[in-house]
């Protein structure tokens, strides 16, 4: 039995026994190589679950949808390692209770889907360590190095050009599992901290706020990057913030579910190079 069939039947069992109220997985998409999220509430619906190398979205986004977990019932979700990393962050930030999530873990390597052992987040403790030491995708690293080489004014020009494309659609925010706030700061209009119009200043404001709000919280799943309709390379911003946090605080977001959020916590040996 292939992994797709195995997960389908397990999902059907979980649903028929009432162990979980919902299975969030992937279903067929609008084209042959696209997958869209599938929400199975009955064993029959779980028959439509698909699992192949095109299942790249990070489904934890749907766990934090308003009120899904407040009834205390369990939900099963299909997750790649980056999804597991974001689940760790969501647990650490009290958005999800560990015991409410059943994980169908899988990895995609060289277009092959392999299952990951374990069903509950505590089974994945080792994975965090592995991810921490893993090298980021060479493409991202190369791009990041190219940016680094530009110097600060070169980078500023680069981002000015990139941000000028932003249409403030907030697709990046909607796709991101960490953007779970019920009201985002950009929607605050009393006072209007972030200007809503799509001029350079407003675009800079929004994108910088997004970058800072994700510092030490981004799981590098690439959802924002894929969502952006105008192809702003958001992955590079996330990568840079992740690097800063790692260098300054030796912190790797989503390494475990009992991490203290880095910007909310305080350690006696934190660097304070900016305090005179």
């Amino acid at each position: 039995m292939g992994i797709q069939e195995q997960y389908r039947s397990e999902a059907a069992e979980l649903l028929s026994s009432g162990e979980v109220k919902l299975v969030i997985g992937f279903g067929a998409g609008s084209t042959a190589d696209r997958r869209r999220p599938l929400f199975a509430r009955t064993p029959e619906e779980s028959e439509k679950l698909v699992l192949d190398q095109n299942c790249i979205a990070n489904l934890t986004t749907y766990l934090v949808a308003g009120g899904l977990l407040t009834d205390g019932k369990k939900v099963a979700v299909f997750l790649k390692p980056d999804g597991i990393r974001s689940l760790n962050i969501l647990i650490a930030e009290s958005q999800v209770k560990a015991e409410q999530v059943v994980i169908f873990g899988f990895a995609i390597e060289n277009n092959e889907v392999t299952p990951l052992e374990g069903r509950s987040i505590s089974d994945f403790a080792k994975l965090g360590e592995k991810l921490r030491t893993a090298t980021p995708p060479p493409s991202v690293q190369e791009e990041a190095e190219r940016l680094e080489a530009m110097g600060s004014s070169g980078r500023f020009e680069y981002w000015k050009e990139q941000f000028s494309k932003c249409i403030k659609c907030y697709a990046c925010r909607q796709a991101c599992p960490m953007c779970y706030c019920r009201r985002c700061i950009v929607d605050v209009n009393q006072p209007q901290w972030v200007s809503t119009s799509s001029h350079t200043l407003g675009n800079f404001e929004w994108n910088l706020v997004r970058a800072f709000h994700l510092a030490g919280r981004c799981a590098a799943c690439g959802a924002c990057d894929r969502a952006c309709p105008v192809n702003i390379p958001l992955r590079l911003i996330n990568y840079r913030m992740g690097k800063e946090v790692k260098e300054a605080f030796d912190y790797f977001a989503g390494e475990s579910s009992d991490q203290n959020p880095v910007l909310a916590s305080f350690r006696q040996d934190d660097p304070e190079t900016f305090i005179l």
Binding site: T70, S94, C181, R183, Q190, P191, P261, S265, F266
Partner: protein, 657 residues
């Protein structure tokens, strides 16, 4: 409609010389909402304040901006004036055009422009201020004193003497600090132990003082009037209530060759020990790193010797105690710098190159040589001693930049003590300057030179080496401009006074500030020298800066006076500048709960009518909140607002610039 009064202060010439106040008044008068705008030489003076009050009454002002100095300076003054004129005191804002403007700029025209902007921005803020009421909180009238050196002991005695309870925490097995190691003390040459021991005993016997030795402060929570301190009592392995201090265990302990910290390694102690004979409390501790039982699981001779049942308990564990206190006095003292970093002085390489503190032990009647000055290497009495002052101090390249303040005095003292004990001995002192400011101090150093033959040589030592049992000291006499070479039997280094090695870490733990070296910062160097910037935490002794005993004691009594002032009231009025959370938008990430340095935020459930949980939100306890704003800056969803500094106020302030 807002009716704002703006009062532009000249601060004598402080502001007026660099800001065109007439122009400022003209421009600000035109700003919407400004009802009156006036200037005056000193608004903080009586007539100045009267002008403000009159303007409030006559014009029915709804808000006041005083464009003057920092709010830290006079906010309280003008709040009071507003209140006296019937305006809510929180309808006042200070526009700081002194520290933020006139003092830091030299171009008058530009400074004026900036002053106008600052003032306008505060006008916009004050338009959005709300009437606030101060919060009343109870004061726990018990003090925590950290550090049982002379400073801590003095502060504890003064507070206890005024009838308030004190918890005195000392991390060593005995109180006393460095003073207990000193032989005789400048400028009077009275024996240190003789004047210190009675104080130590008084402290431990005082009904209002609870002395916790061999204990450390693990955690401090809370705020002025209401701190909670968690204290770790390290296990001594000897029951402090049962032990009579007979010392039989010490006599019998087979581990006899442990270099004594108290004797600076010049003498030995046992594994079960009291640091010195007059220790208070006179109850030994077991050094588990040395004890045979802890190392090999065999021995327990001390326990067998001890006459009292279960007094020595090898299974003893650290215990924790929590105390509620209203004020904290930090008196954690100093250390001497490690002088091995000065290779040229040969410290650590030559046994007879010692620190001033070691010299104190040699000169001390209760010390390892019973007060006879002897060379550590061969026990001979030295005929010539070279003293090197500023061995680490005033040396930005290798040591510390500051002057350690006490070394000139104790070196003169050492030369005198040596002369008194060894009439033929010669003291040669290398110095940079002799700093002897203080009552009786210059007289003291003169006496060392004129009566006790101390020979001062102005200059620095460049090299020191051993030859035929002598220490050859080479340097330059900078007054004669000639090189000098002295064959000495002993060299005493006046090492720099530095903060405790853990001073920074400890400061972070209890929430006070420190300077670039690690000495604790006072709230204001001149006007608030014994307070820290954290309300309710005070400083005394050498933890703040190098100090001698008279200064440490004076500061300790000053800190005690501050504590007693605080304890004179049952209630404390607190600023109503507190945070509050919007239930509707809080995302329940609880980052703020963790970020709040005062643990003022809790988690609160929001349930529907049937008791089903809808969501959890953050909830600020206004009694604990100090209005620091950390949570506000942390909250990503912008769900927290701070009274007195609301988002709307800050935004208006910024937009007015």
């Amino acid at each position: 409609m807002a009716k704002i009064g703006v009062f532009v202060c000249h601060c004598g010439e402080n502001i007026a010389s660099n800001v065109d106040t007439a122009n400022l008044v003209r421009k600000v008068s035109e700003h919407p909402g400004v009802e009156v705008c006036a200037e005056y030489k000193y608004f903080c003076s009586d007539p100045g304040q009267e002008t403000v009050k009159r303007a409030i009454r006559e014009n029915g002002l709804t808000g006041v901006v005083v464009a003057a100095c920092s709010p830290r300076m006079h906010e309280t003054t003008f709040r009071k004036a507003c209140a006296e004129a019937g305006l809510n005191p929180y309808m006042l804002e200070m526009a700081n055009i002194r520290e933020h403007c006139s003092w830091v700029h030299s171009d008058k025209e530009k400074a004026t422009e900036k002053a106008i902007e600052i003032t306008r921005s505060l006008v916009e803020k004050v338009k959005r201020n709300n009437n606030l009421k101060p919060i009343s909180v109870p004061v726990t009238r018990r003090a925590l004193v950290i550090g049982g050196g002379i400073a801590g002991i003095q502060a504890a005695l003064d507070i206890a003497g005024a009838g308030r309870e004190v918890i005195l925490v000392e991390r060593e097995p005995s109180i006393g600090g460095h003073m207990s190691q000193l032989s005789e003390t400048f400028p009077t040459l009275d024996c240190s132990q003789c004047i210190l021991t009675p104080r130590m005993v008084e402290a431990i016997q005082h009904p209002n003082i609870k002395v916790l030795t061999y204990s450390e402060v693990e955690e401090v929570d809370g705020y002025i009037g209401n701190f909670k301190a968690k204290i770790r009592k390290k296990s001594r392995y000897v029951d402090i209530d049962k032990c009579t201090g007979c010392g039989d265990c010490i006599q019998k302990c087979p581990v006899k060759k442990v270099p004594s910290e108290f004797e600076c390694g010049l003498g030995n102690r046992t594994a079960i020990y009291t640091p010195f004979a007059q220790a208070v409390p006179n109850v030994p501790v077991i050094d588990t790193t040395r004890c045979t039982y802890f190392k090999n699981g065999k021995c327990k001779i001390c326990q067998k010797t001890c006459q009292i049942e279960n007094c020595i308990d090898f299974g003893m564990q650290d215990t924790f105690e929590e105390y509620e206190v209203g004020a904290i006095v930090v008196a954690t003292g100093f250390q001497i710098q490690d002088t091995t970093l000065y290779g040229e002085y040969g410290y650590g390489r030559y046994k007879d190159v010692i620190t001033g503190l070691s010299f104190e032990r040699l000169a001390s009647a209760s010390g390892p040589t019973s007060g006879v000055i002897k060379r550590p290497s061969d026990g001979k009495e030295p005929e010539t001693i070279v003293f090197i002052q500023c061995a680490g101090s005033r040396d930005p390249s290798k040591g510390v930049r500051y002057c350690s303040k006490i070394c000139c005095m104790y070196t003169a003292k050492h030369a005198m003590l040596y002369a008194h004990k060894n009439h033929d001995g010669r003291s040669r002192i290398f110095y940079m300057d002799i700093r002897a400011a203080g009552k009786g101090y210059d007289e003291f150093t003169r006496r060392a030179i004129e009566e006790d033959g101390a020979e001062y040589l102005r200059g620095r030592v460049s090299k020191l080496y051993e030859e035929n049992g002598k220490l050859i000291v080479r340097g330059v006499d900078s007054l004669l401009g000639k090189p000098v070479e002295i064959a000495a039997d002993m060299v005493v280094l006046a090492t720099a006074i530095v903060p405790q090695p853990d001073a920074r870490e400890f400061a972070k733990r209890i929430g006070i500030g420190y300077d670039e070296y690690g000495f604790y910062n006072e709230a204001h160097m001149k006007l608030r020298p014994v307070e820290t910037a954290t309300a309710g935490i005070y400083l005394c002794g050498a933890c703040q800066s190098p100090k001698d005993i008279p200064d440490s004691v004076a500061q300790a009594s000053a800190a005690a006076a501050k504590v007693l002032g605080l304890f004179s009231r049952e209630q404390l009025e607190r600023e109503p500048v507190v945070a509050s959370v919007s239930d509707a938008t809080c995302a329940g990430c609880f980052g703020c709960v963790m970020a709040c340095p005062y643990n003022a935020i809790d988690v609160r459930d929001i349930n529907d009518r049937n008791g089903n949980l809808i969501k959890q939100v953050a909830d600020v306890n206004p009694g604990l909140c100090q209005g620091c704003g950390t949570c506000v800056t942390f909250c990503r969803s912008n769900s927290i607002d701070l009274a007195g500094f609301t988002e709307n106020q800050i935004f208006a302030e910024i937009m007015a610039l």
